[in-house]
């Protein structure tokens, strides 16, 4: 019986210790900058899905967060991940404590922040974004802050075929990471895909790429266009060489396994089976400085909403 008690007590104690650490860390962070007058304590919460790949986290997430931090110096910049699995893994494995959006906003509220921008690093306004929006709406309803604004994902608040501004900017940014391609060569972007209606973003991106006359097409792992549809497009375009790029913030599990893995159903294997020469590019969009700049701009746009 005593042993059983221990099983419960130990995690509890560890948990207490850890939250202790978390608090002190955030206090330290707060000390770094000049303490602002309480009425205009301002913060930006940068929200991403997260990744357990440490190198990808540095290159894709931290880099973008830092751009935002360096641009908006009079704001306190914080991080939140939406994946509880990744949050737990990082806590257990690396002793790296990351809040989910709700925890992060609660802390900001407790610390007396009055104006908060929540800037997602999501690509499309899908289910992840809906969930985040629900959290933000809850804090708004509770009047937790004087002002609370949610910024928009890379491709906008919603997918609107009549408003392609965000898409065109994203296409310009993607252009910067395309290799110099010869005849019969193409880039295939692998997006996540979703059952959510915002999956329409991927076909719209395809249309914009075509409009911009770029040798690139988009497919998705879990939505449409499917890999089969990608194969059909490649056959129609009569290309021979494919560079695979993740249309995701981070080159994590999907990029390493579903896209480029030595696995029967990876895109690399499936395309090679058809006779294409394939080069995987294992870098997330977060490494692309032009994409980072878009997220900085979206933060700026959200800040402007604050003062309205």
């Amino acid at each position: 019986m005593k042993k059983i008690a221990l099983y419960f007590l130990v995690p509890l104690l560890v948990g207490l210790l850890l939250t202790g650490c978390g608090n002190s860390a955030t206090k330290d962070q707060a000390k770094e900058s000049q303490p602002p007058a309480p009425q205009d304590k301002k913060a930006i919460l940068v929200v991403s899905f997260g990744t357990s790949y440490p190198d990808a986290r540095k290159a894709c997430i931290e880099s973008t967060e830092n751009k935002i931090k360096d641009t908006f110096k009079d704001y306190q910049t914080r991080r939140a991940f939406t994946s509880n699995i990744i949050i737990k893994k990082l806590a257990d494995r690396d002793k790296l404590m990351v809040d989910d959006p709700e925890q992060a906003l609660t802390k900001l509220q407790q610390e007396g922040y009055k104006q908060v921008v929540v800037q997602p690093l999501h690509i499309i306004p899908g289910k992840e974004f809906d969930d985040l929006k629900a959290v933000v709406d809850k804090f708004t309803a509770d009047k937790a802050f004087d002002k609370l604004v949610l910024g928009r994902p890379l491709l906008g608040y919603q997918i609107d075929p009549n408003n392609t501004k965000d898409f065109d900017l994203a296409v310009d940014a993607l252009k910067k990471q395309l290799p110099s391609l010869k005849e019969k060569q193409i880039v295939v972007f692998m997006g996540h895909g979703t059952e959510h209606e915002s999956n329409a973003a991927y076909q719209m991106m395809n249309d914009r790429l075509k409009q911009a006359n770029l040798p690139a097409i988009v497919g998705t792992v879990e939505g449409s266009p499917t890999l089969e549809e990608v194969k059909a497009s490649l056959a129609k375009l009569q290309v021979q060489d494919v560079t695979l790029m993740p249309l995701m913030l981070v080159a994590g599990d999907h990029a390493n396994n579903d896209m480029a893995g030595d696995e029967e159903d990876s895109w690399k294997t499936q395309l090679k089976k058809e006779g294409y020469t394939v080069t995987p590019y294992l870098h997330g969009l977060g490494e692309n400085e032009a994409i980072q700049a878009i997220f900085v701009q979206h933060t700026q746009d959200a800040i402007e909403l604050l003062s309205k």
């Binding site: 357990s52 440490p54 021979q240 030595d262 696995e263 029967e264 090679k272 089976k273």
Partner: protein, 471 residues
Amino acid sequence: MIRKIIVLIFSLLLTLSLSGCGSSPTTSAPQEGNIQVVDDLGKTIVLQQPAKRIISLYSAHTENLFDLGLEQEIIGVSSKETYPPASVKKPAFDYNGDPEKILAQQPDLVLIRPFIQKSKPDFVKALENANITVVCLYPENFNRFDDYIRKLALLTGKETVAEEKLRQFHQQLDEIKKTTSNITPKKRVFFESTETEYRTITPDSIPANLLQLAGGINVAADAKAVSKESSIASYGVEKILARAAEIDVYIAQSGAMNAGGSPASIKIRPAFNEIKAVQQNQIYNVDEKLVSSPTFRLALGTKQLARILYPEVFDSLAPLSPQTTLSRQELAEMVVKYKHKEFFSPTSKHYNKTSGHLYGSFVDIALDHPAFHYIETAVQAGYLAGTGNNFEPDKAVTRDELSRVLFQLADVKDTATDITIKDRSLCEKPRIVELIVKNQILTLDQQKQFNPSATVSVQEALAALNKLPQR
């Protein structure tokens, strides 16, 4: 109240059915109370006859029961089964659930392990109160594996099968040991059992013993168990770094229960670049199911460890006789060895996949086929493919097929040379043949024919492998 009545009725039925069977006049039936086993909680279990309705709540027990030929007798398994494939299809029971669900099945044997007894004592009690025979087994040390298998066999009347399985198992281990005993110098290994606090394994644990058989020297042989009866041992970053220059190979187990880090995360840990294995890129994952879980697949795990430590010996392609025509099963073995690809071991997630090849589903490749693991590994990696549910292991490999396999194995790029392949249209994937020929991995005959349907010898295939661009 209703529950109690149900329990009563079931136990009554059970007693009736048991006594019924016991009194049946079969000559081969053992004497009453003939089966006696002391389980790992020190409890003496007496069975009237071998168990016929077994529920196993631990995946290793399930796997071993299947290996003993008890597919019919297993009426329920745990919710975490992965091997053999047939185990995944059995009704699953969860010790976090309602014990009534198990009682309703009227098992005559429920197998658990100490972890379940410790974490869910009330669940176990509920079964025992309903007069269900609950047996708790788990060989924490490698030395207790045989004894554990014999207890399972005794409970189920499979003593003869068990002895034969154990003989084969030890024969496989002895063969590996014989090979590694001649290797010098031996590789020194750190084995990471958990990513948390960089724990290792106790010297008498199952992985430590396999490591020794595989010819590895455990640099953490001084590690002490985190608790009595545990195979996990404390170690920590300071002790690892103190041995940094000694660690030739860093092996971390991967899996759902206790898992170490991935090579990518181990590489970038602070100060880990002092470790020789990290500097020389000798960091590997090995599936805990193959090196920690007490099943006959430990022989495969030992082989996997030996392949990691001494690839020049265990992935050597020399034993294949060069003049013979290459068969598909030989090609599977050849490519897995060439790529040093870790043996595939299915996760529970694997069985949810809706397209592609499902592990173990080739009707012509039984689980005990000598090339089973090479074939499954090659197919799961996408190097080779079957035809529907058939693999056709003995079928000769054609040049056409070989070209497709070679193309999957390496990064073959287009070249500026122009070539004409006269029988191009006879090739299944002309573009692949063209690229393979352009890169001079396979060549045309004097009439500029590729001859796609011609078979290849082992020697020709080996020569082609050697011409592939290196990573």
